[in-house]
Every structure is written in C-alpha cells, then in structure tokens.
Symmetry: C2
Subunit: 140 residues, 2 copies
C-alpha cells in the first residue's frame, strides 16, 4: 500500500489536496468531499448535482476544471466506457471494471482479481501507460 497517496485513508480533503499539490479552495474541497467519500464512479453531471445539493452551488465550469485538475494530479482517474460521458473514478490505483451496458453502472474489479497468462509485446517505440480490462455485462 501507499499510505501517503491514497484517498482510501479518509483524511480531511484539504490535506489530501495539499498533499497532491492542489491549493485547497472551498469549491475544490466540496468537490473532493463528494468524489473521495468512498470508491465510486461519477460523471461530471452527477458531481455537479451532488455538490449543488449538499451545499452552496459550484458552477459547471468549475466542476469540469476541477475534475480535470484532480485527474492531472493523480487524485482521480478517468474511465472511458460510455461514448456519451466520462466517469471519474475515486480509486486512482490501477484496477479494472465491470460495465453494465443496460444500466450504465460501473463497478470496480480489484487489480488482483485479474491476472494474465499471456500478453502481447508492445508496439515498437512505446511504453506501457496502463492495462485496463473492461468486462461489459448485461443485466439478466
């Protein structure tokens, strides 16, 4: 584990932000409160709704800017499985996902529940950034 970098330790958001080199403004803390409360996957829209329900409103632009900032700083991860919108994942460590194509729900798969017995060689002149498995499922 990495006791310094994880959000799963449930530290005050302001500290988490500071530790990632992000100046903790009121809006950022409110957004961090929503996103980092627990492992979850939210679209920008859902974050906007949640933030504006529980406290003073934050503008749409600020939500987008802040989520992108958090991703750049390694606090969140983008999950691209739905052409219509990006999901932001509060678990920045590498892991995989179930995606329910009927409900649109996204579910984590811990990294250690997937193992490869075979992987292809990388294309010439490239380095791995990430290996992500998406298991698309339908509700029965």
């Amino acid at each position: 584990m990495d006791p310094s970098g994880s959000n799963s330790r449930m530290q005050p958001p302001a500290e988490t932000l500071a530790r990632h080199g992000i100046s903790p403004t009121a809006q950022r803390i409110r957004i961090a409160d929503v996103m980092l409360a627990r492992p979850q996957h939210l679209s920008a829209d859902q974050v906007l709704a949640a933030v504006n329900a529980s406290a003073q409103p934050v503008s749409k632009a600020t939500v987008y800017n802040t989520l992108n900032l958090f991703c750049r700083k390694g606090l969140l991860r983008e999950v691209i499985v739905d052409p219509a919108r990006v999901f932001y994942d509060s678990t920045p460590e590498p892991h995989h996902h179930f995606y329910d194509i009927d409900t649109g729900e996204l579910q984590d798969i811990p990294a250690d529940e997937v193992a490869f017995s075979r992987l292809p060689p990388l294309p010439e002149g490239t380095d791995t950034d990430s290996v992500e498995v998406v298991i698309r499922v339908r509700s029965r």
Copy 2:
C-alpha cells in the same frame, strides 16, 4: 474462424451487406468500401472525409446513421477509448487494443495474444457481453 460472417474475406461489399440483412444502397456500399477495405479504426469524421474524397459525397447524418446500423448488425464494432470520439473497428470479432495516448492511434491485438489466468466472478444477475483489454501506451 467463421468463413460466413467475416469481412476479412474481401467479398463484394454489397454481398457482405446483404448477408448481414442490410439493404445495399449506394451510400452504404460506399461507406462499406471505406470501412471494410482492411482491418482499421476510423472515427465517423474520418469515414466522412474518406467517402467524400473518393466519390460523390455522402451526408454527415447518413454516415453516422450507417455506422450505427453496421454496428447493430454486427458488421462493425465501436471502440471507446477516447473521450472525444468513437472509433469504428472493421474487425467485429472479439479482440483487444493498443491505444497510443500521444498519437491517438489504435492498434489491434488478436484475441489469442491475450490470455487470462484469473478473472473475477460476474456480478449477481448479469451475463458477459464482452471482455476487452485496452493497453494504453506512450510513444517513447
């Protein structure tokens, strides 16, 4: 292999369309010509440009409608790796992808070059639709 369903057999596009239950109109054949010429990954925009360069133009709406139709009919597959746009993959059989996050290039990984020694159980009440691996790489 599946000698009846694949586009890699390089049959006349009209026949391929008919075999998939798609009435072969002029525009659809032109779009199929572009997409099915060889294994490739094109965005709707690239298809539009290619079609309109090589022959009489096809409208943007028709390109989108046709690509979606081809996907529904199992002739193409959507690849969702870039938040900005959908790629259409001329290889409808299950396989995996390299995605170069610097150049935006997408490259096929044949299904048999990836094997799992461990996979998680599916969530309650769901069936697998697909298992897709995306290896994100950076150009060195």
